[in-house]
Amino acid sequence: MISDEVGYNGKVEGDVIVTKADAVINWIRKHSVWPMPMGLACCAIELMASAASRYDISRFGMEVMRFSPRQSDCMIVAGTVTYKMAEVVRRIYDQMGDPKWVVAMGACASTGGMYRSYAVMQGVDNIVPVDVYISGCPPRPEALLDAMMKLQDKIAKEPSVGNLRKAKAVSAG
């Protein structure tokens, strides 16, 4: 019988903990998400609020907002993505190291929102792969926190070892 337990088991005494590689990798990853605020419009104000004391995103292990794509692994696209900005968003996404995730925060980033016009990209998923969409215009900080917890759940289910093998095979050609 294969056990579902992934953490410490009191029956195994001593300094030994038995777990699955995926479980421990994902456990580390999901509690050390470093988001990069891609603040493009008013959603960024709510994003700032969720980092401040009342909502305090650090309670969930993701408080290290980095303004450099090289140091972060989760891009929170907060705001309206214009066609002119889309190229920049993609380039910044490309500069993030793997593994990386994208959260589309608010109606504009998810679908273009109320901006049905020549200037606005109708959803940032046209240019980067999105993991979690948040509804709202703008979403409340609670909604962002909920989305980040959903992202953690998603990270917990990723086949991380399999992805590593795949990446190794790709880089080996």
Binding site: R91, R116, S117, Y118, V128
Partner: protein
């Protein structure tokens, strides 16, 4: 306030200006070739030294004179606004002299007006697009341009290669989306005016 005596003396001094009907502030028609002289004397002699706005109007494809450029000045002396209205003689290649050397505030406004209407400002130091990207082929605020946009490739070739993204007409779904300024908040949020049709469902005739 700008009183009638001042308007009268201004019109006597500047023979090329003529009064234009307006529902709000004093509006003066100005020939394009006189514009720079007028703006200079507005700034130095008449006390209208604050260029508040510079934009353009598209009167429609069928209009005799299609484009006009509009400049708003505020005077801290007179405590009032004056509007200059300049008709662009050429409908195909509209152009107006740039006033950015007299009023540096005009620099970006002229770039935006060029970006949106395609009006050339002769003598502008750096007349390029300011809102849309440089390669964009249309002038979006012209009357014939659809609000949803027109299929256009994006400028960055490497990004397009990976993402296959391009500028596509935005779905209107009964739009355009507008908000009414009156009524309770839940009714005045932006929404489509005519929700009887979508892209999938034909507009009832």
């Amino acid at each position: 306030m700008i009183d009638d005596g001042f308007i009268k003396s201004l019109l006597e001094k500047k023979g090329s200006l003529s009064r234009r009907e307006s529902i709000d502030c004093l509006t003066l028609d100005c020939p394009a070739d006189q514009l720079k002289d007028v703006v200079l004397s507005f700034r130095d002699d008449e006390g209208f030294d604050l260029l508040v706005d510079l934009t353009a109007i598209d009167h429609g494809e069928d209009a005799e004179v299609r484009f006009s450029v509009v400049l708003h000045f505020y005077s801290l002396v007179h405590r009032g606004y004056v509007r200059l209205h300049v008709l662009c003689s050429d409908n195909e290649n509209p152009s107006v002299p740039s006033v950015s050397d007299i009023s540096p505030a005009a620099n970006w406004h002229e770039r935006e007006t060029y970006d949106m209407f395609g009006i050339k400002f002769t003598g502008h130091p750096d007349l390029k697009r300011i809102l849309m990207w440089d390669e964009y082929p249309y002038f979006p605020l012209r009357k014939e341009f659809p609000l949803a946009g027109i299929d256009t490739p994006l400028p960055a070739a490497d990004v397009v290669e990976v993402t296959k993204a391009s500028v596509e007409p935005a779905p209107m779904m009964g739009g355009p989306f507008v908000s009414s300024s009156d009524g309770v908040m839940s009714d005045s949020e932006p929404r489509a005016l005519d929700e009887s049709w979508t892209e999938e469902m034909e507009k009832p005739s």
